[in-house]
Amino acid sequence: MTNLDGKVVIVTGGASGIGLATAKAFLDKGSKVVIGDYNKEAGKKVEEELKAEYANVLFVPVNVAEEKSVENLVSVTVEQFGRLDVIFNNAGIGVQTPTHQLTDEEYKRVIAVNQDGVFYGIKYALREMLKTGGGSIINTSSILGTVGEPTSIPYAASKGAINLMTKSVALEYADRNIRVNAVGPGFIESGLVNKEALGDFYDGLVAKHPIGRLGKPEEIAHAVIFLAENDFVTGTTILVDGGYTAK
C-alpha cells in the first residue's frame, strides 16, 4: 500500500465536479495537491476556499489541449513541491451532436482536450516519475470508453483512446515502478447534470443505471484514491457505473 501522506498530486479539471472531489480526497490523505483547470475564476476561488483548510494546495491555470501549457503545469508543480508522485488526468469536455451535423471544430476540440490532453499529462508526468523512481498515473475514462452512445462520437472515441493509452503506457513502464490506470464513471451528478437542468432527460439517464440513481463525484474520488494506494493494479480501467455496463 502506498501512503499518500506528503505525496505530490496534480489534478486536472480540478476546479469542479469529479476533479474537485478528488483533489479534496487527496488533501484529506495529507497529499500536496496542484489543481489545474481551464477556468481561472473557478480555480482561484477553489484555491482560496481550500487554503482555509489545507496548507499545501495550489491552483495553476492550464489548457490541457496545449502541450506547452501541460508542460508548464508539471514544471510549476515540481518547482513548488519538489517532485510529482501522482497525476490525475481528469480534464474533459463533451458534445451531444448528431454525427451528420458534427463540425470538424467540435470534433477536434473534444479530441484535443480529452485525448491529446491525457497524452500530454502522461508524457510530462512520466519524465518526473522516471527521475524519482516511480509514481501513479490515473486517467478519467468513462463507461463510454467501453460501450457506445448515440450523438457522442468524439467523446466516446476519446475515452476509448484513453483506455488503450492506459494499457499501453502501463505495459511500457511496469518495470519502472510507474502504474497507469483509468477510472470509468457512469453518469455523475454535477453542475450541468441534475434533475433541475435536464428534466425528463435526467430521468432517462437514471433509468440506465441499475442502481437507480446517478453517481456522485465523491464516489469517483474514492476509486481514484484506491488506484493511487494499491500497488498491484496497473493497466486497467475500473468502472464505477452503478451496474450500467453489466446489462
Binding site: 494499457k167 502501463a170 518495470d175 494499491n230 498491484f232 496497473t234 464505477v240 452503478g242 453489466a246
Partner: protein
C-alpha cells in the same frame, strides 16, 4: 473504521486470500464468519486473525445443503450478513482439453461455480430482506483470459463473471451490490500447487515463468487482493456494482 460491528462472511477462509481478507476486515472492526472445508486448517488460520468475534464453520461449498447451513448459522449467530466474500475455489488438475477428464471438470465446477452460485442464492436471500449488503466474488484473470492446461478452472472463473453481473442486476433495486475481483497469480499455497502441477519437480522454473508473464514481474500478495476486497465491500464503492476489477500487475493490458 470501515466495518465497525459489520458481519463479514468469508468462504475459503483457510486459504491465502481468505486469511488475508479476514485480517483486513478484522482490522476495520468487522465480526467474522469464516468457512472452509476442514476444521483444522480453519482453526489454524483463525489463530492469526484478531477480530472481536469469529465464528468458524466447516462446509463443502459444492453441496447445497451445507451452504444453506453455513449461511443459516451465520445469520443465527450474528442476526445479519453485511458482507459476503464468496471466495472458495480450487485449481484442479493441470491437463490439456484433449486429456481433460469429466471428473476433474465436475470437481472444479462443483466448487468454483456451484459453490459460488449456492453462496449467492442463500446469502442474497438475507441481503434482499435486509435491503443492504455487499458481495465480492473471487473470479480470476482466468475468468477473462485463457490458460493452457487449466480449461476447467478458466471456464469456471468465466462463469463466476457471468453470475456476478447477473446477481448485481437482480439485486440493484434492493440496495445490494455485487462485484468481483480478478487477480493474476497470487503468492499463496494454491500457486505452489499450480506451479507443481505445471512443471512437477521444476516448480521453481514454473514460478519464474508465471511471474515473468506479469508486466510487473511478480505475483500479487494476498494482502493486495484483500485491500481490493475491502474497497469493493465498503461504502467507498457505493456506486460500483456488476463490475470485475482486475488486479494483475498489468497482465490484462495485453488482452481484451
Amino acid at each position: 473504521m470501515l466495518f465497525e460491528n459489520k458481519v463479514v462472511l468469508i468462504t475459503g477462509a483457510a486459504g491465502g486470500i481468505g486469511i488475508a481478507a479476514a485480517k483486513a476486515f478484522a482490522k476495520e472492526g468487522a465480526k467474522l464468519a469464516l468457512v472452509d472445508l476442514r476444521r483444522e486448517p480453519l482453526e489454524q488460520a483463525a489463530k492469526s486473525v484478531d477480530a472481536k468475534d469469529i465464528l468458524l464453520l466447516t462446509a463443502n461449498v459444492s453441496n447445497e445443503n451445507e451452504v444453506k447451513e453455513y449461511v443459516q448459522k451465520t445469520k443465527e449467530h450474528y442476526g445479519r450478513i453485511d458482507v459476503f466474500i464468496n471466495n472458495a475455489g480450487i485449481n484442479g488438475e493441470f491437463k490439456n482439453i484433449t486429456e481433460q477428464t469429466e471428473e476433474n471438470f465436475k470437481n472444479v465446477f462443483g466448487v468454483n461455480v456451484m459453490g459460488v452460485f449456492f453462496g449467492l442464492k442463500y446469502v442474497l436471500q438475507i441481503m434482499k430482506e435486509q435491503k443492504s449488503g455487499a458481495v465480492v466474488n473471487t473470479a480470476s484473470n482466468g475468468g477473462l483470459l485463457g490458460a493452457p492446461g487449466m480449461s476447467a478452472y478458466v471456464a469456471s472463473k468465466h462463469a463466476v463473471i457471468g453470475l456476478n453481473k447477473t446477481a448485481a442486476l437482480e439485486m440493484a433495486e434492493y440496495g445490494v451490490r455485487v462485484n468481483a475481483v480478478a487477480p493474476s497469480g497470487v503468492n499463496t499455497e494454491m500457486m505452489r500447487r499450480i506451479e507443481k502441477n505445471a512443471l512437477g519437480d521444476k516448480a521453481d522454473e514454473a514460478r519464474k515463468a508465471f511471474e515473468a508473464s506479469v508486466p510487473m514481474n511478480r505475483y500479487a500478495t494476498a494482502e493486495e487482493i484483500a485491500d481490493l476486497m475491502v474497497f469493493l465491500a465498503s461504502e467507498k464503492a457505493s456506486f460500483i456494482s456488476g463490475s470485475y476489477y482486475r488486479i494483475d500487475g498489468g497482465q490484462g493490458a495485453t488482452s481484451v
